[in-house]
């Protein structure tokens, strides 16, 4: 069977599975399925959090970016896992004890202020919109390859699918659908990785395999070979990287802190039965995420070596276009691989490097999806990876669209702007908001301001600069008042957003280390935004009254587990 048919079958089957589970779980909840267990068990919640969390950016784009960036790609690996330590140690147990639905709810109540709630809602919407823009690109990449259409059509098809899926999935039972999605995506990610690792090094585990010696009998370590090839071809040595340490530091910090401030991740910790389970849930989520995240650098290193070997040939002299492997011509149709005219006419061999010899362009976002084809694995593996990519994009987009639509319809309209609207109108507003979010996402999916993982990184910067300080101070600094928190959030988010917009959209020519503040790129600027947020909050507190006594008492009471209310269903 050809790849296209197989992809239709595998993606179709997984879709049927998700919808089946959603229907089953809904039926279950009417017979008090959840309440009997007092919420979702921590291991299942950990898995659902992992699926919610691992988006198209993690699944499709991250390994590709690492393969381009080499050591510099570590920012994504450490950044998107280290945040769970902050979540489990500093946030989740307290927010669970507090026991409200959303992050704006916590901020609104803790800072006893409607303004604080509104600022938090606006930040949540901003973060989720940025995040979803990255997702649409990822979905588009998957569909454009497997339906053999160009990337714009791919984005539009993906967009329609995600919108209808969310309307279907906007119900209870989403947790168990996400458990299934985690299983599909983890399986789809690790199976091809094991195959390519076996091929390349004879090792079974990707995690140890990419440090092993090559199976070609040369006795050379894989990473040594890759370092050598990279420098020969004008790239930075793979294990060294070329970003400045301060930028690596700032991006890693922004991603970690942003993780801990993401509304759609935090919301998951309200669903566990007990405060102690919120801690446990964070641990399990990280275990499940680590399955993918420790595999990713192996895929990156191995596929990079494979790409260099297939485009440039084993002797690194270049390969003629007519002898090109099928994955190159397949991906060329999507526009994500480009081959120079002279090479296509057969006048010169194809060559992929980082200098003037190069006549091939490879988009980083294809690396994971193409890795089974590049390694000549069977077609069913290729189809499986497509299903995994769809699962990753769907689970995250659904979660994000729910956050956006509930923020707009519930937090913003019903509770702030127009308290008199009916439930029907509220529902309509939710659907319109979700539709609007999908459209904006599609626009940026077609005209991406960076690779999927980079766009997503902006969302983390915004979360780091807005929510994280407000929540941390809300828990650990009893006296922090509403003026301080609001001023901090506004300064943090406005600064971070302006910096990103200036360098990515207004003056992209200046988007380089010479013009960046302290050499920090727009991806890492959330770290500076977060510091501004903290400083402004403290200074403002100095010149205004402490939080009232009843709020300080409330903060005392979220600091120990006893007396936590029942779990909240999502």
């Amino acid at each position: 069977m050809d790849i296209k048919t197989l992809t239709f079958i595998v993606v179709g089957l997984t879709f049927a599975l998700y919808i089946g589970i959603a229907i089953w779980a809904r039926a279950g909840s009417t017979t008090d399925f959840y309440v009997a267990g007092g919420g979702v068990p921590p291991v299942a919640n950990g898995m659902a959090t992992a699926a919610d969390w691992m988006s198209a950016a993690s699944f499709i784009s991250m390994a590709g970016l690492i393969s381009i960036l080499g050591y510099d790609g570590s920012v994504y690996l450490m950044g998107w896992t280290g945040g769970y330590v902050l979540l489990a140690l500093c946030l989740a147990p307290y927010l669970r004890k507090f026991g409200k639905f959303t992050v704006p709810d916590f901020i609104g109540d803790r800072y006893y202020s409607q303004t604080a709630r509104t600022v938090a809602v606006i930040c949540a919407i901003l973060v989720s919109f940025t995040y979803i823009a990255g997702q649409m690109r990822g979905v588009g990449v998957v569909f454009s390859r497997f339906l053999e259409v160009d990337i714009t059509t791919g984005v539009l098809i993906g967009m329609a699918l995600v919108y209808f899926y969310t309307l279907l999935g906007g119900m209870k039972g989403i947790t168990y659908t996400q458990v299934a999605q985690y299983c599909v995506l983890a399986f789809a990610y690790t199976v091809p990785a094991v195959f390519v690792t076996l091929q390349m090094t004879g090792h079974f585990l990707p995690q140890t395999g990419f440090g092993a010696t090559l199976a070609d009998g040369s006795g050379q370590y894989l990473l040594q070979r890759l370092d050598g090839l990279s420098t020969e071809l004008g790239f930075a040595a793979y294990t060294d990287g070329s970003k400045s340490p301060i930028d690596v530091f700032a991006i890693t910090m922004a991603l970690m802190v942003g993780t801990a401030g993401l509304p759609h991740v935090i919301i998951r910790f309200f669903t566990v039965p007990k405060v102690s389970d919120a801690r446990k849930s964070g641990g399990w989520a990280l275990v499940f995420i680590a399955v993918v995240y420790t595999t990713a650098p192996a895929i990156a290193a191995i596929t990079k070596t494979n790409i260099l070997n297939t485009i440039n040939g084993p002797d690194q002299q270049g390969v003629m276009y007519e002898d090109a492997p099928t994955w190159i011509t397949n991906w060329e149709k999507t526009g994500l691989i480009g081959v120079g005219e002279a090479a296509k006419a057969g006048d010169e061999p194809m060559f992929f490097s980082n200098d003037e010899r190069s006549n091939v362009r490879v988009d980083a976002d294809i690396i994971v999806l193409a890795s089974p084809e590049i390694a000549s694995l069977p077609n069913w593996v290729v189809a499986l990876v497509a299903a995994g990519g769809v699962a990753a994009a769907l689970s995250t987009s659904a979660g994000l669209l729910l956050v956006i639509s509930s923020s707009v319809s519930h937090d913003l309209m019903k509770r702030t702007l127009m308290p008199q609207i009916t439930d029907r109108q509220e529902l309509l507003a939710a659907r319109i908001a979700a539709g609007f979010a999908v459209l904006i996402g599609a626009y940026f999916g077609i005209n991406p301001p960076g690779f999927v993982a980079q766009v997503v990184a902006f969302a983390f910067g915004l979360a780091a600069a807005s929510f994280f300080p407000a929540i941390i101070l809300g828990i650990f600094h009893k006296r922090m008042n509403s003026t301080g928190a609001i001023a901090g959030m506004v300064v943090g988010v406005v600064f971070t957003l302006s910096y990103i917009i200036y360098f990515r959209f207004i003056n992209p020519a200046a988007d380089n280390p010479e013009h960046w503040w302290f050499g920090i790129s727009p991806e890492g600027i959330g770290t500076l935004g977060m510091m501004f947020n903290f400083v402004v909050a403290f200074v403002t507190l100095k010149f205004s009254k402490d939080a009232p006594a009843d709020i300080q008492e409330m903060v005392e009471s979220i600091r120990y587990p006893k007396g936590a209310g029942a779990a909240v269903d999502h």
Binding site: S74, L77, M78, V85, G211, S276, V287, Y560, G563
Partner: protein, 88 residues
């Protein structure tokens, strides 16, 4: 008041903070320390075919994060029991 005395409440919070800060110190040293600041120094050492600094940045830090969360979880469960503020 869930605690037996104000002193208990203070001690519980103090022990919690000290545990949290110790674990966060490890979190910082392994990722930002070994993986970023000291990466060039550690890269002089080879570890199962990896340069050590590179390994910490792409593998080791993640394993450490998992261990940290589970240590916190089990120690906090004991602390909750000690001060009788656990959920039965």
């Amino acid at each position: 008041m869930a605690f037996e005395s104000d002193q208990h409440a203070k001690d519980y919070w103090k022990e919690n903070l000290s545990l949290m800060l110790k674990l966060l110190a490890v979190w910082f040293i392994v990722s930002f320390g070994f993986g970023i600041i000291l990466v060039d120094v550690l890269n002089q050492i080879t570890f199962f075919g990896f340069k050590l600094g590179f390994w910490f940045a792409q593998q080791g830090a993640i394993y450490t994060f998992i261990i940290l969360i589970f240590i916190y979880m089990s120690k906090m469960n004991k602390l909750d029991k000690k001060y009788k503020v656990d959920e039965e």
